[in-house]
């Protein structure tokens, strides 16, 4: 995330994003994902097509086992398709090896998990700084960027707190700061409000909306919560490995 993106104000940035002709951020074509458990074949996704435009905020809903988390993992480059293609920001993820996908994730994807997954031995600031350790930035620049990300999520005064000293909502906000600190094009969120009460969930959803509208982040969110899905501009319903609507 650039410093300018924080300091120049939401309106300008939002207008810039909305004024641009929107291209496809994610293009999924004929996507199959098959797992093998012993000798049993398990087709989780069967020939799925999906297009997500740059700067959109889209939700994936569906019952357990519908394949929404598998789809999210494939979009985030954590897994490779069995068949078909996934292009994210113009890159064919299926063609990348494990090391190249890891590097691609570090540069292009921010992750938000249901259970926050912060490192308990690190402070909030250090947790946010973690992805920047893979860059060539100096220690001072890393710290500065982490502080900016914490400011975006409203937790600059909690920089020195350890995760156990924070509430669930605060932990998730730190996790969001960690997700945006490298200024990724894409943010994937797997049940980001699943472990939060209604008020904290509302705070997190507002923050995600803000990242989408003010900073132009493309967000793909898996959720079971219809109220959370309503905050997205588009909701895709998955069932038995296919998109129903």
């Amino acid at each position: 995330m650039t410093e300018m993106s924080v300091d120049t104000g939401a309106a300008d940035r939002s207008r810039k994003v909305s004024d641009k002709p929107r291209t496809a951020m994610i293009e999924v074509r004929g996507l199959h994902k098959t797992y093998w458990r012993a000798k049993e074949r398990l087709d989780v996704l069967g020939g799925l097509d999906l297009t997500i435009l740059e700067g959109s905020f889209e939700a994936l809903m569906g019952p357990s086992g519908s394949g929404k988390s598998t789809l999210l993992n494939l979009i985030a480059g954590l897994d490779r398709p069995s068949e078909g293609t996934i292009r994210v920001a113009g890159v064919d993820l299926g063609s990348l090896g494990e090391g190249a996908r890891a590097k691609w994730r570090a540069q292009n994807v921010g992750f938000i998990f249901q259970t926050y997954n912060l490192m308990p031995v690190l402070t909030a600031l250090e947790n946010v700084e973690l992805p920047l350790l893979l860059t060539n930035l100096s220690a001072a620049d890393r710290k500065k960027r982490a502080q900016i990300a914490l400011r975006v999520v409203g937790l600059e005064d909690r920089a020195d707190h350890r995760p156990r000293q924070l509430s669930g909502g605060q932990e998730q906000r730190v996790a969001i700061a960690r997700a945006i600190v490298t200024d990724p094009k894409l943010i994937v969120a797997d049940e980001p409000t699943g472990d939060l009460d209604r008020d904290n969930a509302e705070e997190i959803l507002k923050l995600l909306e803000r990242l989408n509208t003010e900073f132009g982040k493309t967000i793909v969110m898996v959720t079971h919560d219809p109220a959370a899905a309503k905050r997205a501009s588009v909701t895709h319903h998955l069932d038995k490995g296919a998109i129903r609507s």
Binding site: N73, A76, L78, D79, E98, G99, A102, K103, R105, A106, Q107, F111, F113, Q114, T115, N117, M119, P120, V121, L122, E126, E129, L130, P131, L133, L134, A139, R142, R178
Partner: protein, 388 residues
């Protein structure tokens, strides 16, 4: 923050477990260093033996005696500069019969010339030479029994029965590490005049100074050849070879100690490996998160190995710091006082400390090899699924 900081912080995560593991490693290092010091000290007598001294004993065994007249023959052998002789007395302090120390009858004048590393103050030396009942004792032995110059002491003879009275004429120190500072030296004449006719004029061994250390083997052969045609044959060898042959009797014990010291390190490695494996299992989900946000398998492996090396290094450091007081001042002092013949100088060798430090680090890394490999090979999605 640096990448290494995460590894170091993980070390402190479960403090009780980390402290116990560090103590486990430290105890293993202390045991390793103690055993290695036994081995190095044992060979100290060989390493520091005089190069210009040869010993002559009965060809069959050192338990059997030689006629005293052989000393003159040795003294007249070409290459021999000086010679002296001794007898094992086998005395005990009646007040402390379980405390072993060497008691040896010598000819004082020639003994002090041949063994010039024995240091006795001039006045005490003179006193000893003048007093047939006089004895000089090592400073370690004197301290142990509280003996002082001028004391009259009684020893109980085991080879030569009876109570034997001696005057402590002097207390010796030594300039060479191979010298046992717990020995009781006294006049051979005093012994000889008191034994029965069968044991008279018999000596245990002859020690000779030679002019050329490099000719030790030739001179030893010359001596033995001279006695080949006599009624009793001899076996001569350099002091170093003599000490080596003496140590050779304990080869099996030394090898066993060597093996035990290696086994101790293997146990240390297993303790460390178990701790690291537990930590890796507990942090599987965190490694999944790190992999998700772009860290590579090599980074994960480095975290695990770094943690193991840190614990190994801390355990090694604590172990080394504990070893000096425990091994040198505890076991070492006791061994020098009670088994000075075997361990005249029981000190931790520099090489042992370096080996302990390197092995703590090396075995720490080795202990982490399997957990590190498994952690680096974790499937990201499987690891993330453990999040709950």
């Amino acid at each position: 923050m640096r990448l290494s900081a995460l590894g170091v912080r993980n070390v402190l995560r479960n403090r009780a477990r980390t402290v116990l593991t560090i103590l486990g490693v430290a105890v293993a290092i202390v045991a390793f260093m103690a055993l290695r010091t036994v081995l190095t000290s044992w060979t100290e007598a060989v390493n520091h033996a005089a190069k210009d001294r040869i010993a002559t004993r009965h060809k069959i065994t050192f338990v059997m005696t030689l006629p005293k007249r052989y000393v003159d023959d040795v003294r007249s052998t070409p290459g021999v500069v000086k010679a002296t002789f001794s007898n094992w007395f086998g005395g005990q302090n009646p007040k402390n019969e379980n405390e072993f120390f060497a008691t040896i009858a010598v000819e004082p004048q020639s003994f002090l010339e041949v063994f010039d590393e024995i240091q006795v103050p001039a006045d005490q030396r003179e006193s000893w030479l003048q007093n047939r009942r006089g004895a000089v004792v090592g400073d370690v032995l004197a301290k142990k029994f509280g003996w002082k110059v001028g004391d009259r002491v009684t020893l109980k003879g085991t080879i030569y029965p009876g109570n034997w009275e001696f005057d402590i004429s002097g207390i010796y120190t030594a300039t060479r590490r191979s010298v046992d500072r717990s020995t009781f030296w006294f006049h051979w004449d005093y012994l000889n005049e008191s034994v029965d006719a069968r044991s008279k004029d018999q000596i245990g061994w002859i020690a000779a100074r030679i002019d050329k250390p490099e000719a030790a083997a030739q001179i030893a052969k010359r001596i033995d050849t001279h006695f080949d045609e006599k009624d009793i044959q001899t076996l001569s060898m350099s002091e170093r070879a003599l000490n080596t042959s003496f140590l050779g009797m304990f080869t099996t014990v030394l090898k066993a100690m060597d093996v035990v010291s290696i086994v101790i390190l293997l146990i240390m490695m297993l303790i460390l490996g178990n701790t690291i494996a537990m930590g890796v299992r507990e942090r599987t989900n965190e490694y999944g998160v790190l992999r998700a946000i772009g860290f590579l398998p090599k980074h994960i492996a480095l975290f695990v190995v770094g943690e193991a090396i840190t614990i190994g290094a801390l355990g090694g450091l604590v172990g080394i710091l504990l070893s000096y007081p425990l091994v040198e001042n505890g076991i070492g002092r006791w061994l020098e006082e009670n088994m000075g013949g075997f361990f005249p100088y029981f000190r931790i060798a520099d090489g042992t400390t370096v080996a302990a430090a390197l092995l703590s680090l090396g075995l720490g890394a080795l202990a982490a090899a399997i957990p590190a490999y498994r952690a680096s090979k974790l499937d990201v999605i499987d690891a993330l699924r453990r999040i709950g």
